[in-house]
C-alpha cells in the first residue's frame, strides 16, 4: 500500500473541506466569508478554551488531582458535580447559538446574514445540545448528588456504572463539540427525521455526528436510570419507606423508570437510521419498502416520555424548595407522589400528538388528543399543592424561591398553550409554526432550567461548603424570567401569524416587531447567564464569608441537611434511622439533631476506577471513527471498551475500608464545632452569621 493510500485509510473521509474556514478561503464571497467567520470563531473559542484549560492544569500541576479526585472517583457527589459542570459548559454554547439565531431572525426580513445550511446546523446543535447535553446531564447530576443523600445512602447501587454513564454522556458531548472543528453537523433538527437524514438527502457526515452523539448519550442515560431506580428500591436507610421519601426522590424514581423504558426506543431509532446510512438497509427510506413514519413513532415513543424525564426532576426540586423556604411541610405529599406516578404512566400514551398532521385517522388523533389533555389534571394538582404549601408559610424570597415563583406563573401559561395544541384540529393550524417553539420553550425553560438553577442555588452549599452570592443570583433569576418572557412570548404571536419554525429568512414585514422584541429577550437571557458566571466568581472569591460548615443553611427538612457541608465522602457517619417524613425537621424540633451516635463502624467505600474515563475515551474514539469512516479507530475504540469491561471482571480489590476510628474522629470534631456554633433565625439567612446552624421554624415562632 502506498503512503497516500495508507493516509486515506487512516483519515477516512476527513479532508480539508471539513475545516470551518475552508469554504471561505477557497470560494470567497460575502456569504461564505460571513458564515465562515462565525463558524471559525466558534471553533476558535472551543480550541482556545481547551488549550487554556490544558495550560492552566499543567501550570498549577493539577492533572494528578483531576485524575485522582475527580475523573476516576466513584463518589456519587463528585460524579453529580461533574455532570452539572458539563451541563453549564454545553449551556454556554447552546445559548450562544440561540442568540445567533435570534439575531438572524431579527434581521431576516428578506435575507439576513446566515446561509440556510448554517442556520440548519445551528438549530440542530442548539436542540440536540439543550436536550441531550445540557438538560439531561443537569438533571442526572442533581439526582446523582441529592437523591442518595436524601434516602440516607452512602452511594448509588452501582458506583462504577455511574462513572461509566457520565463518561458516555461526556463522550457524546465531546462529539458535538468536535463537529465545530471538523464540520458539518446535521441540519436535520434535534429529532433527526428521515428521509431527510438518509444518505439520499444528507450524504455528508452531519447526521452521523447526530446519530452517534445521541446514541452515546442515550446509552449513558439508560444505565443512569437503572442505577437510580435500583438505588431507590434497595439502598434506602432503615425506616425510610417509600412514602417517607422526600418528593424529589419520588420524581427521581419516576424519571429513572422512564429512562429505563423510554431510552431504548431512541437507541433503536438511531441505530436503525445508522443501519440505513452505513449498510444500505431500508427502515426509513422512501424507497425499497422503507417507512419514514416508523421513525416518527419510534422517536416520539422516546420523545414524549423524555419531556417528563426533563420536567419531573424540576417538579421535585420545586417541592423541596417551596416547602423549605416557606418553613412548612409540603402540602398534599401523597397527592404529589401519586400525581408524579400518574404523569409518568400517561407519558407513554400521548406520543402521536407530535405528528397529528402526518395522516393517521381522525379517531386515532382524538384518542391521543384526549390522553394529552388528561396530563393537565395531575399537573394541575401539583400546582395547587405548591400554592397551598406557600399559603400562610413564612416565605423567604431567596434565589430558588424566585425561580419557583417565576415557574408557577409561566408554567401555567405554557400548560394552557399545551392544552390548545393537544386539540388536533387546532394543532393543524399551529403545527410547525413558532407557536409550537414558544410552547415547548415555555414548558422547558421554567419547567426544567429554572428548576435546575434553583437546585444549583439550593444545594450548592452542601456540595462546596459555602453559599452562593445572593445579589448576582437574584439578578440572574430575574433576568432569566424577564428574558424568557421577552424572547418567547412574541413567538406565540409569530406562530399565530403563520411564521414557520426553522426558517432562516422571511418576507412578511408584520413579523419584524416580534422578532426584534425576541432579540432583546435573547440579549437579556445572555445577560442572565453572565450574571450566573459573575455569581460563581464572586462566591468563590468571597467564600470565607459564606461558609456553612454545620451544613444546614436553609433550615432544611430532609436528611441531606443533617450532615456537614461539604458532605464527607461517606455521607453519613452512621446510617440514620428514619421514623417520619421530614426527619431532620422533627429531629431539630425534638432536640435530637446533632447527637453523638452510640457507636461507629468501619465504612466500606468503592475504590477509584479508571474504567469510566477509559470507556469514555474509547466511546468517543469509536463514534468519531464511525462518523469519518476511520474504521481502524472505530474498531480500536470498541475493542478497548470491551477489553476494559472484561478486565474489570477480574478486579477483586474494589473496596476500601475506612476505619471506625477515622469516622469517629471526623464526626465528633464536627459535632463539637456544631455545639460551639450559634444558631441563627431565618432573617439572618443571607448574612455571614449563617454558619449553617438553623433555629427550626417552629421554635423561632415561639421565641
Amino acid at each position: 500500500m502506498t503512503l497516500a493510500g495508507l493516509l486515506d485509510a487512516a483519515l477516512g473521509r476527513l479532508d480539508w473541506n471539513a475545516l470551518p474556514f475552508w469554504e471561505m478561503v477557497t470560494h470567497p464571497n460575502a456569504s461564505s466569508i460571513i458564515n465562515g467567520l462565525i463558524a471559525s470563531g466558534a471553533a476558535g473559542i472551543m480550541v482556545l478554551g481547551t488549550l487554556v484549560t490544558i495550560w492552566a492544569l499543567t501550570r498549577h500541576r493539577l492533572w494528578g488531582m483531576l485524575w485522582r479526585d475527580w475523573l476516576t472517583s466513584l463518589d456519587h457527589k463528585k460524579i453529580g458535580i461533574m455532570y452539572v459542570m458539563l451541563a453549564f459548559v454545553m449551556l454556554a454554547r447552546a445559548l450562544a447559538e440561540a442568540s445567533v439565531m435570534r439575531t438572524q431572525q431579527a434581521v431576516g426580513l428578506g435575507g439576513g446574514f446566515l446561509s440556510p445550511e448554517h442556520f440548519g446546523q445551528l438549530f440542530s446543535t442548539h436542540g440536540t445540545i439543550m436536550i441531550f447535553f445540557m438538560a439531561m446531564p443537569f438533571l442526572t447530576g442533581v439526582i446523582n448528588f441529592v437523591m442518595p443523600l436524601q434516602i440516607g445512602a452512602r452511594d448509588v447501587a452501582f458506583p462504577l456504572l455511574n462513572s461509566v454513564s457520565l463518561a458516555l454522556t461526556a463522550a457524546g458531548a465531546a462529539l458535538v463539540m468536535a463537529s465545530l472543528l471538523f464540520t458539518p453537523f446535521s441540519t436535520g433538527g434535534w429529532s433527526g427525521y428521515p428521509p431527510f437524514t438518509e444518505t439520499g438527502y444528507s450524504p455528508d457526515v452531519g447526521p452521523d455526528y447526530w446519530i452517534w452523539a445521541v446514541t452515546l448519550s442515550s446509552l449513558g442515560t439508560t444505565l443512569a436510570g437503572m442505577n437510580f431506580a435500583v438505588t431507590i428500591y434497595k439502598k434506602r436507610a432503615p425506616g425510610m419507606t417509600m412514602f417517607r421519601m422526600p418528593l424529589f426522590c419520588w420524581t427521581a424514581l419516576c424519571v429513572s423508570i422512564l429512562m429505563i423504558f423510554a431510552m431504548p426506543p431512541l437507541t433503536l431509532a438511531t441505530s436503525m437510521l445508522a443501519l440505513d446510512r452505513y449498510l444500505g438497509f431500508h427502515f426509513f427510506t422512501n424507497t425499497g419498502g422503507g417507512d419514514p413514519m416508523l421513525y416518527a413513532n419510534m422517536f416520539w415513543l422516546f420523545g414524549h416520555p423524555e419531556v417528563y424525564i426533563l420536567i419531573l426532576p424540576a417538579f421535585g426540586v420545586y417541592s423541596e424548595v417551596i416547602s423549605t423556604l416557606s418553613g412548612k411541610k409540603l402540602y398534599g405529599y401523597t397527592s404529589l407522589a401519586l400525581a408524579t406516578i400518574c404523569i409518568a404512566v400517561l407519558s407513554f400514551t400521548v406520543w402521536v400528538h407530535h405528528f397529528f398532521t402526518m395522516g393517521q385517522s381522525a379517531s386515532l388523533n382524538a384518542v391521543f388528543g384526549i390522553a394529552t389533555m388528561l396530563i393537565g389534571i395531575p399537573t394541575g394538582v401539583k400546582v395547587y399543592d405548591w400554592m397551598l404549601t406557600l399559603y400562610r408559610g413564612r416565605v423567604r424570597l431567596g434565589v430558588p424561591m424566585i425561580y419557583a415563583a417565576g415557574f408557577l406563573m409561566l408554567f401555567v401559561i405554557g400548560g394552557a398553550t399545551g392544552i390548545v395544541l393537544a386539540n388536533p384540529s387546532l394543532d393543524y393550524v399551529t403545527h410547525n409554526t413558532l407557536f409550537l417553539v414558544a410552547h415547548f420553550h415555555n414548558m422547558l425553560i421554567p419547567g426544567l432550567l429554572f428548576g435546575m438553577l434553583a437546585a444549583y442555588a439550593f444545594w450548592f452549599p452542601k456540595a462546596f461548603g459555602f453559599r452562593l452570592e445572593e445579589k448576582w443570583g437574584r439578578r440572574a433569576a430575574v433576568s432569566w424570567i424577564a428574558g424568557f418572557i421577552l424572547a418567547f412570548f412574541p413567538l406565540y404571536g409569530l406562530g399565530l401569524l403563520g411564521m414557520p419554525r426553522r426558517t432562516v429568512a422571511f418576507f412578511e414585514p408584520a413579523y419584524l416587531p416580534f422578532t426584534l422584541i425576541a432579540l432583546v429577550g435573547a440579549g437579556l437571557v445572555l445577560f442572565a447567564f453572565g450574571c450566573l458566571v459573575a455569581q460563581l466568581v464572586v462566591s468563590i472569591r468571597e467564600r470565607d464569608d459564606r461558609r456553612v460548615p454545620v451544613g444546614d443553611p436553609w433550615d432544611g427538612r430532609s436528611l441531606e441537611w443533617s450532615i456537614p457541608a461539604p458532605a464527607p465522602e461517606w455521607n453519613f457517619a452512621v446510617l440514620p434511622q428514619v421514623e417520619t417524613r421530614d426527619p431532620f425537621t422533627e429531629a431539630k424540633e425534638q432536640g435530637r439533631a446533632y447527637r453523638s451516635p452510640e457507636d461507629y463502624e468501619d465504612i466500606e467505600m468503592p475504590r477509584n476506577s479508571a474504567i469510566g474515563p477509559i470507556v469514555g475515551v474509547a466511546g468517543f474514539a469509536c463514534a468519531f471513527g464511525l462518523v469519518w469512516y476511520m474504521w481502524w479507530l472505530a474498531i480500536s475504540g470498541a475493542l478497548l471498551s470491551l477489553g476494559a469491561m472484561l478486565a474489570r471482571g477480574f478486579a477483586r480489590d474494589t473496596v476500601r475500608i475506612i476505619p471506625a476510628a477515622e469516622v469517629r474522629e471526623a464526626h465528633e470534631s464536627w459535632l463539637a464545632m456544631v455545639r460551639a456554633t450559634p444558631r441563627i433565625p431565618r432573617h439572618e439567612e443571607n448574612t455571614p452569621a449563617n454558619l449553617g446552624h438553623a433555629i427550626p421554624a417552629s421554635q423561632e415562632e415561639q421565641s
Binding site: 437503572m226 439502598k235 432503615p238 429505563i260 444500505g280 471482571g649
Partner: protein
C-alpha cells in the same frame, strides 16, 4: 442495605453465604432491570418486523426464505442450554470444593450448546443471503436482519461473558463476585430463551402463517 426485606428470592447460593446474598440483592435486581430495558428493545424490533411484513419491495417474502426444520433444531439446542445452565447453578449450590468442579463441566456444556446455536444461526443467515434475502433488499428483510442477528449477537456476548466467568473461577475459585456474576448471566441466558421463543412465534411461525 435493606435488611428486613431479606434475601433475594430464587438464589441458589447455598447456606452460609449471607454476604453473597446481601450483594446479590441489588446486583441481580439491577440486572433484571437491565433485562427489562432490553426487553423493550426486542419488543420494538418485533413490532417493527410485524409492521414491515408487507414491505417486500417485490423481493422475497417469508415463504420464499424461511425453513422451519433448522429453526426447530436451534430451538431445541438453545432450550437445552438453558437446562444445562440450570444444572450449573445447582452444582454451584452443592459445590464439592474440589479443584475439578462440576459447575465448570456444566458451564462448558452450556457454552458448547450456545456456540452451536450461533453457528447454526450463521449457517441459516448465509443460506438466506444465497436466496436473495440480503437486508438491503427490502424493508421486510431489514427488519428481519435487525432482529434475528441481534439475538444471535446477544447469545455470542453471553458466551463471551461465560468464558470470562469461567476464567475467573479458574483464577479465584468460587468467590462472591463469581457467584453473583453467574446468577446475572443466568438471568441473561434464560431471557435470551424467552426472546427466541418470541422470535420463533412471530418471525418464523407468524411470517409463514
Amino acid at each position: 442495605m435493606n435488611t428486613e426485606t431479606g434475601r433475594h428470592p430464587g438464589l441458589n447460593l447455598g447456606s452460609g453465604h449471607a454476604e453473597a446474598h446481601g450483594e446479590a440483592e441489588a446486583l441481580v435486581f439491577g440486572f433484571w432491570v437491565f433485562m427489562m430495558s432490553d426487553l423493550v428493545t426486542f419488543g420494538l424490533l418485533l413490532a417493527t418486523y410485524v409492521t414491515m411484513l408487507d414491505n417486500l419491495a417485490s423481493g422475497p417474502g417469508p415463504k420464499d426464505l424461511f425453513e422451519l426444520k433448522p429453526v426447530f433444531i436451534e430451538t431445541l439446542v438453545l432450550l437445552t442450554s438453558s437446562l444445562t445452565y440450570g444444572m450449573a447453578i445447582l452444582s454451584l449450590k452443592h459445590d464439592p470444593g474440589r479443584r475439578l468442579r462440576p459447575v465448570l463441566a456444566w458451564l462448558g456444556l452450556t457454552l458448547m450448546l450456545g456456540l452451536a446455536f450461533v453457528a447454526m444461526e450463521a449457517k441459516d443467515l448465509h443460506a438466506l443471503l444465497a436466496k436473495g434475502g440480503a437486508p438491503q433488499r427490502s424493508g421486510f428483510l431489514s427488519a428481519f436482519w435487525a432482529l434475528v442477528p441481534l439475538h444471535a449477537l446477544h447469545v455470542s456476548a453471553a458466551a463471551l461473558w461465560l468464558v470470562a466467568i469461567a476464567a475467573q473461577i479458574w483464577r479465584f475459585g468460587l468467590d462472591t463476585p463469581v457467584k453473583t456474576a453467574l446468577l446475572r448471566l443466568g438471568v441473561l441466558w434464560h431471557f435470551l430463551d424467552v426472546v427466541w421463543i418470541a422470535i420463533v412465534s412471530v418471525v418464523f411461525l407468524g411470517g409463514l402463517a
